[in-house]
Every structure is written in structure tokens, then in C-alpha cells.
């Protein structure tokens, strides 16, 4: 028992480490916000300040003026939400089968899931492009959503399999004794208990799709279809030159939806993870 106790100095060191980690995580974001509100002259200053000396909204104005940010945000939101929803709907029953029925097929499927994660974007992009072209899905959000679903599915499966394995089998057996069928068990017993896992998986799929750049760049052709990460690159010139102020302003706006969604559902994730952990 004494071994588990942490000394006061040990606790202080832990908090210090945590603080360092938080600063490490927060630094780029805070710098982004600071840059978004700085006029061009401050961006070229040899001694930059955290708080803009002469804060301005011009970068935001310019960003909206030059690029269709709202349209791009709407496209990103549609793609990311659809991808997250579809990935979860497909992955949940698959994960259930893989978790509950350990056959050679499920082992092979698990192996394939692992292998599929090893393919880099550049290897699959041209075959994928040709397949989508044959399906007339180039330059459509539907095509992009399909790609995002497929891309996030393996990891979503892995996550959900872990969650399902943590749900006691006895609950299913009790439901079966009461006459519930497979679908009823999945929907009424497993799904509610899995809620935190499903939310976490959906969040993962959403953020993956929201931030994704390369597929969107290659698959979407017309400006009105492009997503935020692609539109953000329009503030970049040759040789890494950037229109820094508007880029920071647009990038700051692009992070907000992810933060909002995460803030809304994070309580549910942690709450769900802890639920039932301790017998009362």
C-alpha cells in the first residue's frame, strides 16, 4: 500500500511534467491564434510578442475575401460527419463478430486489418482514383466520403473490438435467455454499453477526415467541392512562402469545429469509460 503512495515532491514532479506537456501541446495553437491577429509588420518583427501589439481582424477579412472558406468548411463538415457516421455503422457489427466469434476467418480478417494500415497514401491513390473514376465518383463528396470510410475503418474496427471485448458476455446471455435475437442484443444491450467506444471511434473518424488533405486534393477538382485543408494550401506560394496572417486566421477557424465537437463529447467518453468500473 505504501508503495502506491506518492511523496509530495514526486507529485510536484508529476505536475511539472504535466505542465510541460500541456505547454508543448498548447504552444503551436496559441502561436497560431497570436499570428492570426497580427498585422503584417508584426509578423516581420525580429522580436515577436505573444500578444499582438496592434491586433487586427484584417487577416480574417482577407482570408474570407480570398478563399471560399465557408463553402470549404461546409464540405469538410459534410465529408467528416458522413464518414464518421458510416464508419461507425459499418464497424460496429463487424467488430462484434470479430470480438465474439473467434474463428480462422476472424483471425485472418484481423491480420488483414493490420496489414491494410501499412499502405501509404501514395501507393493507393492512383488505383483508387481509377476505381472512383469508373464509378463516376471523382469530384464528388460521395467519392471522398467512401475513401474516408474505408481509410478509417480498420482503426475504427480495432477500437471497437477492444470495447466489445470489455462488455461481459453474461449480459448477452441473459438477454438471449429472455428471448432477444442477435440484432436485438446488438442494438439494445451492446450498443448502449458501447456508447463511449462508439463516440470515441466516431471522433477518431471525424478528426481523421476533417484533417485529411491528400485524397481531397486529388479527388476533388472544382473549387466549390474542395475541403478546408485543400483551401488552406491556397495561402501557400512556391518555395514555402506563405501569406502567413490569412493562413493563420483560416487555420485557426479550421480547428474550431474539431475543438467544439471534442468539447461536447469528451465528457461522454470519460464518463462512459469509468461507468461500471467499480462495483458499488
Amino acid at each position: 500500500m505504501t508503495a502506491l503512495r506518492t511523496t509530495r515532491s514526486g507529485r510536484a514532479r508529476q505536475y511539472l511534467a504535466l505542465l510541460c506537456y500541456l505547454v508543448f501541446l498548447a504552444f503551436p495553437f496559441l502561436w497560431l491564434i497570436s499570428t492570426a491577429f497580427k498585422p503584417p509588420r508584426e509578423l516581420g518583427s525580429l522580436h515577436p510578442t505573444w500578444i499582438p501589439v496592434d491586433p487586427t481582424l484584417d487577416n480574417f477579412r482577407q482570408a474570407f475575401d480570398e478563399q471560399p472558406l465557408l463553402q470549404a468548411a461546409a464540405n469538410s463538415l459534410a465529408a467528416a460527419l458522413s464518414a464518421a457516421l458510416i464508419a461507425v455503422v459499418i464497424a460496429t457489427p463487424m467488430a462484434y463478430v470479430m470480438a465474439r466469434h473467434r474463428t480462422k476467418l476472424s483471425t485472418a480478417a484481423t491480420g488483414w486489418v493490420v496489414v491494410s494500415q501499412a499502405f501509404p497514401f501514395v501507393l493507393v491513390i492512383i488505383p483508387l482514383f481509377l476505381i472512383l473514376k469508373n464509378l463516376h465518383l471523382i469530384n464528388t463528396l460521395a467519392g471522398l466520403i467512401m475513401v474516408y470510410v474505408v481509410w478509417s475503418l480498420p482503426f475504427a474496427l480495432w477500437m471497437l473490438v477492444g470495447y466489445i471485448r470489455a462488455v461481459p458476455r453474461e449480459l448477452e446471455e441473459a438477454a438471449a435467455v429472455d428471448g432477444a435475437g442477435r440484432l436485438r442484443i446488438l442494438l439494445s444491450v451492446i450498443a448502449p454499453l458501447l456508447a463511449p467506444g462508439i463516440v470515441a471511434t466516431a471522433l477518431f473518424a471525424f478528426i481523421t477526415a476533417w484533417n485529411e488533405f491528400f485524397f481531397a486534393l486529388v479527388l476533388l477538382k472544382t473549387p466549390e467541392k474542395q475541403t478546408l485543408p485543400v483551401v488552406l494550401t491556397h495561402f501557400l506560394g512556391a518555395e514555402g512562402v506563405a501569406d502567413l496572417g490569412p493562413l493563420a486566421a483560416a487555420a485557426f477557424l479550421a480547428t474550431i469545429p474539431s475543438l467544439v465537437i471534442f468539447a461536447i463529447i469528451q465528457k461522454r467518453i470519460t464518463g462512459g469509460m469509468l461507468a461500471g468500473a467499480v462495483k458499488s
Partner: protein, 427 residues
């Protein structure tokens, strides 16, 4: 309830699936992918497209915004999938793979005499591969020295002009003098060499550097001559021997040197001509700066450039119309608009004569005077150059400039390792 939600989601996806539609009105529709990114440049491009569309109701151009950052991968995939834009904005050093791969149309027969004769032969060479023209070079930028006027004038060094630039030896001496006058922690020059290869090769032309030599059999080999060593040697000595060049900027991009330049830490920064736009935007009030020509060698102030180009996709069913649009975009007065929008120089001789490109303000006159000495960048038509650049030359030059390896090792790596790479592409 759940079933209803699922049905709603399915319906939404089905709606998304129907997002593509075709054109049936008989008009020719061409996609023009532009890489313009600065507001003035985007505006100029969009205005020109608008003017074209108003004057040509049967040939409508759709403006599509691309990005310099990812254009190669994006185009490659589009070409492979047969979905490339009809009119493609790119740079001549990115065209070789696409030209040799058969993805770009030969423009030789498609362009009018007005345009072909307006652009000098040395510019056409930048977009010519196997004697076929795969792009129209239209904007270019020399590398210039942007200098802090006050520091320069107070130091007493000779101020170079386009007609009488510094020699490389004089340039080295000047940076030494400036560093001595400026005091501790300050430097006569800051070389931003995140991408050291193009800077080294392009400036090296002035000293007779060529590095890539094409034999009678058409095969290219790398040889390191005395001229090839002048530019790298000067930079190396400024950083490591004279301490007149900042070591900390060697791994940075051009924009990263500007705060130090504005703050008086560096007297000069060698940058592309278009960086002037950023300087005008970001320089503190009252900051005085000037544009100087890059140093010259025995070959004069010659330097290599990779102009921006307009090409037509081989798969485009309307190549003739696409070429007509390019001709319109590159009418002299339009070329001037594009050049001013991008803060670059037009390749067209008529456009280059425009008075607005010869004003002293913002260094336009110095740049315009350098246009006659711009040549095709040495290696851009060499197959395997991108791999040589990334895997051999970039690390070798970075190590040499930082003092980690000597000139002998640099030469060995550029030549021996480099020729192995090129050989694989020329079997």
C-alpha cells in the same frame, strides 16, 4: 426511431452521390488550373478569365485554384486518371516528368507566331524537351540581393548596379566589410538555404558552373569543374571562414530571414525577385531597402531560372482552344498584369518593355535589367534530377555549407553518387 435516423442518413448520402452532372449545351468548357496565390495575382488571373469568357461565349474557361505546395502529386494522379485540367499552370522545372511521360501536349504547332516570336529562345529552352515545346514560359524571377540601404551606404562599399555587379570575390570582401562595420552578432549576409540546390546551381551559371553535361549520345553526366566550385565555395567561406554569413539561416526559407533583415541583424539577403511583395508588406515604417543584382562571374551576371509555364494536357479534347486561351492570357498587356500581380518579370519582350516594370520604386528597374541574362536552369530537363536533388545534392550541400564536410567530399558526393542516380534513369 433508430431506423428512421438510419434512413435519413442513407438519404443524405444518396443525395451526395448525385452531385455530379454533365454539360449538354454544346459549349466547350475548359478547366484552367492556376497556381496564383497572392491576392493581386489571383485577381489578375480571375479578371482575365472573366474577360475571356465574356468575349468567347462558346469556349468557357473554369478557373480552378491549385497549390504550389502539392501540384506535382496532384497533377500526376490526375494525368494517370485522365482527369487533368485542360490548361495547366506550373513551373518549367516540374515539367520534365510530365513531358517525357506523354502527359503534356506539344505546343509547337498550336501557338501563334506572335507568341513564339515574342518570347526569347533562351526562355523557350526552359520548357523544351526532346525538341518539343511542352509549356509556354511566361513569368520568371532572378535571384537578387535585397539590401538594407542605410547599412550599405554607411559602410562605404561600392554599390553594384545591373550593368556593373559585384564579382564573387568582391562580394565576399563586401560581406566581410559589412560584418566588421555592423558589430558583434550581425552579419553582412544571411543565406536562406533550406533548398540549397536550385540557388547553388542557378547562381553558379555566372561563374561558368554547369555540373550537368549532355554527351553526343544524349546522355547526361555530372562533372565538377572549377566554375562549379565558385558559388558553393564563396558561401562556405562566408559562413565558416569569414563568419560574414549567418550560420543559423542556412536551414531556413527566405521568409524566415526577413525579421532579422528588418531588425538590422543582416545587411543583405539573397532572395527571389518576388519576395519584394512580402518586404513591402512587412517592413517596419521608415525601413529603407534596395534591390541589387546577384554577383557576376566570368560569364557575366547570368543565372538560371525556372519560369512559370502554361501547358495543355495531352488528353484535352480541345487543345486548339486551350492554346487560344493561352495566347490571350499572354498578350503583352495581360502578361504585364500577371507579372505585376506576382511581382515577377514577364518573359515576353514586348511586356518587358512596359514602363511600369522599369520604375526605380521597389527595385523593378534592377530586376528588369537582369532579364536579358536569365537562362534555363542547368538541370531541369535532366531525368532523375529530382531524385539527385533530394537524395544527393541537398544533404551534401547542406553539410558542406555548415562545414561538416570539405570541398573534396562535396565533389565526390555530387559527382559519384549523382552519376549513379542519373544512370538509373538513362538506361
Amino acid at each position: 426511431m433508430r431506423v428512421r435516423a438510419l434512413a435519413a442518413a442513407t438519404a443524405a448520402i444518396a443525395l451526395l452521390l448525385t452531385g455530379c452532372s454533365g454539360d449538354t449545351d454544346g459549349k466547350i468548357r475548359l478547366r484552367f488550373q492556376s497556381l496564383a496565390w497572392q491576392k493581386e495575382s489571383v485577381d489578375a488571373n480571375k479578371h482575365l478569365v472573366k474577360e475571356w469568357n465574356a468575349a468567347h461565349p462558346d469556349i468557357q474557361i473554369q478557373y480552378v485554384q491549385g497549390s504550389w505546395d502539392s501540384v506535382h502529386d496532384q497533377l500526376l494522379t490526375s494525368f494517370e486518371g485522365g482527369e487533368a485540367p485542360d490548361i495547366i499552370h506550373d513551373a518549367s522545372d516540374d515539367l520534365a516528368d510530365f513531358a517525357y511521360g506523354g502527359y503534356l501536349a506539344d505546343l509547337g504547332e498550336l501557338l501563334p507566331e506572335r507568341l513564339t516570336s515574342d518570347i526569347p529562345q533562351r526562355s523557350w529552352q526552359t520548357a523544351t524537351f526532346n525538341n518539343k515545346v511542352y509549356g509556354v514560359p511566361f513569368l520568371q524571377e532572378p535571384r537578387v540581393l535585397i539590401a538594407n540601404k542605410k547599412i550599405l551606404e554607411s559602410s562605404g562599399v561600392r554599390v553594384p548596379t545591373a550593368d556593373k555587379p559585384w564579382s564573387w570575390q568582391e562580394f565576399r570582401q563586401v560581406t566581410k566589410t559589412l560584418t566588421e562595420r555592423m558589430g558583434k552578432g550581425k552579419y553582412g549576409i544571411a543565406w536562406p538555404l533550406k533548398e540549397p540546390v536550385s540557388v547553388t546551381l542557378n547562381l553558379g551559371l555566372s561563374a561558368g558552373g554547369q555540373l550537368f553535361h549532355r554527351g553526343d549520345d544524349g546522355k547526361v553526366t555530372i562533372r565538377f569543374t572549377e566554375g562549379d566550385g565558385v558559388v558553393p565555395g564563396t558561401i562556405h567561406d562566408q559562413v565558416n571562414t569569414d563568419k560574414s554569413a549567418s550560420r543559423s539561416t542556412l536551414g531556413t526559407g527566405g521568409s524566415d530571414t526577413l525579421p532579422g533583415f528588418f531588425g538590422g541583424k543582416y545587411a543583405m539577403v539573397p532572395l527571389g525577385f518576388s519576395y519584394r511583395q512580402q518586404i513591402v508588406q512587412q517592413a517596419p515604417e521608415g525601413f529603407e531597402w534596395t534591390v541589387l543584382p546577384a554577383p557576376a562571374g566570368p560569364e557575366g551576371p547570368a543565372q538560371g531560372v525556372s519560369p512559370q509555364t502554361l501547358s495543355v494536357a495531352e488528353d484535352s479534347p480541345h487543345k486548339k482552344e486551350a492554346a487560344q486561351f493561352i495566347d490571350f492570357m499572354l498578350q503583352p498587356q495581360n502578361m504585364v498584369r500577371l507579372a505585376r500581380g506576382d511581382w515577377m518579370l514577364p518573359t515576353g519582350t514586348q511586356a518587358l518593355r512596359d514602363p511600369s516594370l522599369h520604375t526605380e520604386k521597389d527595385g523593378w528597374a534592377t530586376g528588369a535589367a537582369l532579364a536579358r541574362d536569365l537562362r534555363s536552369a542547368p538541370a531541369q530537363s535532366v531525368r532523375g534530377y529530382p531524385e539527385w536533388k533530394d537524395k544527393v545534392a541537398t544533404p551534401a550541400l547542406q553539410e558542406y555549407y555548415s562545414g561538416a564536410i570539405d570541398a573534396g567530399e562535396l565533389e565526390k558526393r555530387l559527382v559519384k553518387d549523382g552519376n549513379l542516380v542519373l544512370a538509373r534513369y538513362q538506361r
